[in-house]
């Protein structure tokens, strides 16, 4: 039981946006907003970490600005870059004018020729957006410390122009798949939330919410199957996204229960690694028995 009105509101909004919520998620999202702190969300791939940011931006009725991290991500892709082509063109056009050199230089190094990348976009947006920094663990450590600087000062300095201060402080959401330990400094700056694979009941709710027409029994079997598959030693453990894809596919085929043949022919939707598929196929009977889709005595 929670009595805080705003907290209830957030829960309501999250639910309304089709997000099945646990109390811990609601609390973290609420506190991130209330304390104006970045929220660091960790968890395995495919559990809907990114989704939280999307839902949050819809719930707050503001824009979502996304920075996808990757190895080698640097300032020119994360903050700003000059639009060289336009600068050159502009210089050519101005050739005949009698402007002085200084004037021309000032002209081409103005905001007009500045390409704003996500971080700069976020702090100069006309209203506080949700800034999603996705998979920060993919970027290298230098970028992390660089990000820290922006998260604490909320300003960017560009040598040619000067310092650009944030017009609004964005609501920051950082996600990580835990590929790499994040620095202590970054952790301390953020609130922390861990999202794991959903329990059976929760996953079933999600499936029913997103695939409304699904057969009741099929939905249960799919979710139970996913719970079992995640216990196996796999290269890539399937997330909720895979569950939904599978549920949609089977539902579209008007299938109302799982059997060996159906699973075998559609396993590629759930598992994305050749060895995983082979491994699951080998123990398919056992898996389906656990799920309750076939009984032990059926094949005798």
């Amino acid at each position: 039981m929670m009595e805080n009105k705003e907290l209830e509101e957030i829960r309501h909004m999250l639910r309304e946006q089709g997000y099945i919520t646990e109390p811990s998620i609601v609390m973290s999202v609420f506190l991130a907003k209330a304390l104006k702190k970045p929220l660091l969300i960790e968890g395995p791939a495919g559990v809907g970490k990114t989704e939280i940011a999307k839902v949050m931006s819809r719930a707050l009725d503001t824009d979502l600005i996304r920075l996808q991290c990757y190895e080698g991500l640097d300032a020119t892709h994360a903050i700003y870059e000059w639009n060289y082509q336009q600068q050159l063109l502009h210089l050519k056009l101005e050739e005949q004018s009698d402007k002085s050199l200084e004037e021309r230089e000032q002209n081409i190094f103005s905001e007009r020729f500045l390409l704003k990348r996500p971080l700069l976009q976020a702090i100069t947006h006309h209203r506080a957006p949700v800034l999603l920094i996705d998979e920060i663990d993919r970027a290298d450590e230098e970028f992390e410390s660089f990000l820290l600087e922006i998260l604490s000062d909320w300003q960017v300095s560009i040598p040619e122009i000067g310092t650009i201060k944030a017009t609004h402080i964005p609501q920051v959401i950082v996600t990580s798949n835990r590929v790499r330990e994040l620095s202590e400094a970054l952790r301390r700056r953020c609130l922390y939330l861990y999202v794991s694979y959903p329990e059976f009941e929760k996953e079933l709710q999600i499936v029913r919410g997103k695939v409304p027409g699904i057969d009741q029994k099929l939905g249960e079997q799919i979710c139970r199957f996913m719970q079992e598959v995640r216990q196996m030693r796999l290269e890539k453990i399937p997330g909720v996204a895979e569950t939904l894809d599978w549920a949609m596919a089977l539902s579209a085929l008007h299938i109302d229960h799982l059997d060996k043949e159906i699973v075998e022919s559609t396993l590629g939707i759930v598992l994305k690694d050749w060895q995983d598929i082979r491994q699951a196929s080998l123990s398919l009977t056992e898996l389906l028995e656990k799920v309750g889709a076939i009984s032990k005595f059926e094949n005798l």
């Binding site: 039981m1 929670m2 009595e3 663990d137 330990e181 953020c190 922390y192």
Partner: protein, 384 residues
């Protein structure tokens, strides 16, 4: 009588701060900033009447890692239970006499809850003393690494510095200006030519950045490796401090990423941090499971054709050997080079006969002894 209730309400702020300190003792990084976060968080969710909301709120505000998230609830219960007792007994006995000293519990393995009461009474000095005693105790109860001979250390340091230099030479070419027309550096081209009124006469180029060589070190710290462990640790620490692009993992029954612990500037500190944190140090060996964990969680980011994987292990495996072979195959497929240093291989009569070694053998590029400083010199050549 509603005196206890009033008491508890008015001291909520003090209690939350004391709770933060309790967490700090339990290894949480909780400073004044986090204390403020916790209080603001409670303020934000007010009015709340359920204890669960408060617990949820404090957890969301204070837990900052996965591990903390899991221990939080237990610590929370522990703290408030103890506090309740303290408040109750206080009411019974009346206020404690000023200046009364409480003896710290002897031989207590955990930071004693006495501390909380001391905090509540403002006795911080004793807290600090007790905390220091606690950490000293802990270091001793774990494996003793403090017997490293200074001379050995020095030799090791020099050798590692040489290895690091050899590596550094290979990565010295970063993105930099190039006289050859490779790729146009527009930013610098524009800047240079502005002086001539914007006519592009002089073009500037840069070379693409070269990938730096990444080293991944996987060290076996199980029981059978005990003899070599001090050598290993020196090696890991030295290489880590001399070379930036290195990730160090240790394993026995499970994998642990040691890079952060080894980055401590002080060697002693790094040691105690490692010995305190690594699960199953000097335990059994499950190489297969550990490598599988590595290839699952870290391979994507760490392994590419520029990566050199160095494994230090004797190959004694009590786990799943088939899994070891499988994981080695994956690592080998992705890495540039796999080097296995086996301390047993130093002896002339050694044959890699253990099952684990047999399973791994096909996926090793260089198999070499790794039992002393001499063998490291050979390694230096391999890294080129």
């Amino acid at each position: 009588m509603d005196r206890p209730l009033i008491k508890r309400q008015t001291t909520l702020t003090a209690n939350v701060v004391a709770f933060c300190r309790f967490l700090r003792q339990k290894g949480y990084t909780v400073g004044p900033r986090e204390e403020a976060d916790a209080l603001q968080a409670l303020l934000a969710i007010a009015p709340f009447h359920s204890p669960e909301a408060m617990q949820l709120c404090l957890r969301a505000a204070l837990a900052r890692t996965y591990a903390q998230l899991h221990t939080f609830d237990e610590l929370y219960t522990q703290y408030w239970r103890e506090l309740d007792k303290a408040v109750d007994s206080k009411l019974k006995d009346g206020a404690p006499e000023p200046g009364q000293k409480q003896k710290p519990k002897r031989g207590a393995q955990e930071p004693s809850l006495m501390n909380i009461k001391n905090w509540l009474q403002g006795n911080t000095q004793q807290e600090e003393a007790e905390m220091a005693a606690y950490s000293a105790q802990e270091a001793l109860s774990h494996k003793d690494f403090s017997v490293l001979a200074e001379a050995e250390m020095e030799e090791m340091r020099q050798l590692i510095a040489r290895i690091a230099r050899a590596l550094a030479r290979r990565e010295s070419r970063r993105r930099k200006a190039s006289p050859k027309p490779l790729q146009l550096d527009l930013r610098r081209t524009l800047r240079t030519n502005m002086r001539r009124g914007g006519e592009l006469l002089e073009l500037r180029y840069y070379k693409p950045a070269r990938h730096k060589k990444q080293i991944v070190l996987l060290c076996d710290v199980s029981k059978s490796m005990d003899l070599y462990s001090r050598f290993l640790i020196q090696f890991m620490y030295g290489l880590q401090s001399a070379y930036q692009h290195i990730e160090t993992f240790v394993f026995s029954t499970q994998l642990y990423r040691a890079t952060a612990a080894l980055r401590q500037r002080d060697f002693g500190q790094a040691l105690s941090e490692l010995s305190g944190r690594v699960p199953g140090w000097s335990g059994g060996t499950r190489i297969g499971e550990s490598f599988h964990a590595f290839s699952n969680e870290h391979a994507n980011r760490l392994l590419n054709k520029q990566t050199v994987v160095i494994i230090m292990s004797d190959g004694w495996d009590t786990g799943d050997t088939a899994l070891l072979g499988e994981s080695m195959k994956r690592i080998h497929q992705r890495a540039g080079k796999v080097i296995w240093l086996n301390p047993l291989a130093g002896s002339q009569a050694y044959e890699p006969e253990t099952q684990g070694m047999q399973a791994a053998m096909p996926y090793i590029d260089v198999f070499a002894p790794g039992h002393n400083a001499e063998s490291l010199k050979a390694l230096q050549r391999q890294l080129r």
